[in-house]
Amino acid sequence: MKRVFLAGLIVLSPLGAEVTVIQNATIMSEGAKGTFVGSIVVKDGKITEVGDKVMVPPGATLIDAQGQWVIPGIIDCHSHIAVDGGVNEGSVSVSSMVNIRDVINPEDIAIYRALAGGVTSANILHGSANAIGGQTLVLKMRWGQDAEGMIFQGATPGIKFALGENPKRAGNPQGGRGAPATNARYPATRMGVEDVIREAFNEAKAYKATWDAYDAQVAKGEHPIPPRKDLKLEPLKEVLEGKRFVHAHCYRADEILMLIRVADDYGFKIKTFQHVLEGYKVAKEIAAHGAGGSTFSDWWGYKVEAFDAIPYNAALMTQKGVISSLNSDDAELMRRLNTEAAKAIKYGGLSREQALALVTINPAKQLGVDNRVGSIEVGKDADIVIYDKDPLSNYSKVQKVWIDGNKYFDRDSDVSARPSKELEKKKLADKEKVAPSSQGGAPGARRPQ
């Protein structure tokens, strides 16, 4: 184990001033240069040169990607992996006091699997049990690092909202899953969901006014007792101040319009509508609000509010000017977002670049990190994926993945390490068979009194 761990450290140690050049690849840059055969120079974790011909600095590590394809790291705008102890603080209708940042689980194997599917960044969201859910953040899939090391530093934090069935389910003990009849929780209707959001922002506005008044007093040189800090209202204050992005789970056109009206009334913006399966019906309104739409390619029908969906959704929203993306919402689907993107070519007639943009530069824009990631362009983070074949084909496999210029996945090393890992596991298993439990007689496992 120690050997494996140390090996991991060596792989993950920053390359420092080392330079890597990926040569002769077919590069889908998702930037101004489009798709071309050429090279990428990576230095200090950043892309320093891209083109059909580049200067190879002396001492650079050369990677010949002849016949292979390179794309920018995939970005998943809606994921729940790498979270310890539950993704839903489902006990209350407004759970804005909780923060995914507190419960990052860097050991979740889903991170490594996502990496092996070409994902380098993901928006880790709270669940959808509440009208206003918990605080969210963007992670990079830096497998092997600790929680702090996973965080996409500089990315604006977010907050989850949820409309429709999920947040009102706990209000309906009769039909609701998991809700004891005695503890029904407001709201029980869509009207109630809107009311909960409005009430929360009424509170947040009053809270903000209290703090603004206090700040003004302090600025005048007075020494008043500061107001009580309320962890539920702090993030909503940040939403009002434009410092925190709202990612709103939704399905139906009517609830999408409702939330736009609420946001307009209180003077904040919705950054993305998530799922947004009926987005194609109100794409103009979503675009006018300036929100993005992060949807599924062809996943629907799992509940009534998810029935009126079509696989053309992403393409249609794109054509109406909505920044659109395709997300996974699922650890397994997360491993093959490249082929999810490809479906938008068949359904909706997007170009190859537009399709790949749905899982690269578009989610980067939706998360406000497009200056850092989402395309292969000079100055951006070296988050790069090599496929053996066309990434829009489901026959292609991820070969290597870099994040910030550090290689975090290598298919060859993974495959070749499997037998030794199997062997180590077998050794441990055999050892346990020989040495049975030394501690536990029943008397030791005495029940609490």
Partner: protein, 456 residues
């Protein structure tokens, strides 16, 4: 009652001397822990204190002399995190976080309405002191003495802010008060729900909710203190602040215990403690052996309590079950944690974590020794180290003149399987452990009474 005891003592042929009579153990090997081992010496005990110790200690004329030939005297063992003597508690320190954590105790408390948020102070009894809840009749007290334990840091363990721990001597007393060494050691924080979670089950239900709740409590406590002090200074013209017993309890706790088992949790809790700005002891430490854990703990200059309940394969597990590699590694390596901590200079003590049968405690300690911890360090982690961690090394944890007379007298090395504990002294009172019954099946675990246990 006392007459009866006295009568019994006389009946037993023991010396029923006056209160201030001395006991002297002579010709014994004395492992002082604080100093070097005395190969053949004498310990004199009077009024519950160690009056004298040394090779040539004078034996007072009134002393009951015990010939310690072939015996070894150790300081009484201290369980650094325990529920011995506490009513209706879950085993202390079982505390993982969130999933897979301790099962709730089988005690019936009236169902409270679900909490709507932090303002309802869910699962918070921060004002409770273990010292006020002790049940002197708890059979585990006598059982634990049979494994050489004379002192325990006992904690209320139900809830996020379960209450304040107390340091007690494991006497079989009539009054709980005489057992108490330190009434408040700090606040026990757990990250496990004791009620029903999930939708409609009350706030908080998820780990992130629990963390947020604890954070809010400390923000509230800070603000409460500010307002309370301002009011105390100048009440005239100021609205009266509301009294909040939950915050009072938090404010009067001088340190906190936080659960941390996985390396991820150790990292997480160290960050959290820094944010809360509270002196913190971390408990659990199942993955304390990991290189990263060591690094985090060293960087934070942390103090930890290591659970003696080593992870093991479930007894009734499907033999064909394929455990994750990671889990197997943890089972293999967890007992090396004390040795690893020692090697890296991290302050630690060991705790029982629900084990109370002498045989199980002994085996668990032995397992740490078999995994690299020296006998001396194991003894220290159960005597002087916990005393230092709780700031009572001036009265407990070693055999020195003036310290409390808590001693274990054995034939053989204390943590050996075949070693027999002859007797223990708690506050100078002599107890002879009952022989342990053979292991019974499930449910046959009731601890024996201590028929030979004699209190002077």
């Amino acid at each position: 009652m006392r007459n009866l005891v006295t009568a019994l003592l006389v009946f037993c042929g023991c010396a029923a001397a006056a209160d201030n009579a001395a006991i002297a153990i002579r010709n014994a090997k004395i492992v002082t822990v604080s100093g070097s081992v005395i190969p053949k010496g004498t310990v004199v005990v009077r009024n519950g204190l160690i009056q004298e110790v040394g090779e040539n200690a004078t034996i007072p004329g009134d002393a009951t002399v015990i010939d310690g030939e072939g015996m070894t005297v150790y300081p009484g063992l201290v369980d650094a995190l325990s529920t011995w003597g506490m009513p209706g508690t879950a085993a202390a320190g079982r505390g993982g976080t969130g999933r897979g954590a301790a099962t709730p105790a089988a005690v019936a408390t009236p169902a409270a309405p679900p909490a709507r948020g932090p303002e309802d102070r869910p699962s918070t009894t921060s004002w409770i002191k273990a010292a006020d809840e002790i049940q002197p009749g708890d059979k585990r007290i006598a059982t634990a003495r049979g494994a050489g334990f004379t002192t325990a840091a006992v904690w209320p363990t139900r809830g996020f802010f379960a209450g304040q721990g107390s340091l007690i001597d494991l006497l079989t007393g009539e009054k709980a008060g005489e057992m108490v060494l330190v009434p408040s050691l700090g606040q026990y924080i757990s990250l496990t729900r004791t009620g029903g979670g999930g939708m409609g089950g009350g706030f908080p239900s998820a780990l992130m909710g629990m963390i947020s709740y604890i954070r809010q409590i400390y923000l509230d406590a800070g603000h409460y203190q500010l307002v309370r002090d301002a009011y105390a200074k100048n009440p005239r013209g100021m609205q009266r602040p509301e009294y909040d017993r939950a915050l009072e309890g938090v404010l009067e706790s001088k340190r906190i215990l936080l659960p941390a088992n996985r390396w991820v949790e150790i990292d997480r809790m160290i960050h959290f403690a820094a944010e809360l700005k509270q002196p913190t002891i971390y408990y659990g430490l199942r993955e304390g052996f990991e290189d990263r854990s060591v690094k985090y703990l060293k960087d934070a200059n942390a103090t930890v309590l290591v659970s003696l309940k080593w992870p093991e394969k479930a007894r009734d597990q499907d033999p064909e079950a394929d455990d994750p590699y990671r889990q197997m590694v943890v089972r293999e390596k967890a007992p090396t944690t004390p040795a690893v901590l020692k090697k890296n200079g991290i302050k630690f003590a060991l705790y029982s974590d629900g084990l109370d049968a002498p045989r199980d405690l002994q085996r668990a300690i032995k397992k740490a020794i078999d995994n690299g911890l020296s006998r001396e360090d194991a003894l220290r982690a159960l005597t002087l180290s916990p005393a230092e961690i709780y700031g009572v090394q001036d009265r407990l944890g070693s055999i020195e003149k003036g310290k409390i007379a808590n001693l274990v007298v054995t034939k053989g090395e204390i943590f050996d399987d075949r070693t027999k504990i002859e007797f223990v002294l708690v506050d100078g009172n002599k107890y002879v452990p009952a022989p342990e019954p053979p292991p019974a099946g499930r449910g046959g675990a009731t601890a024996p009474t201590d028929p030979n246990g004699v209190k002077k």
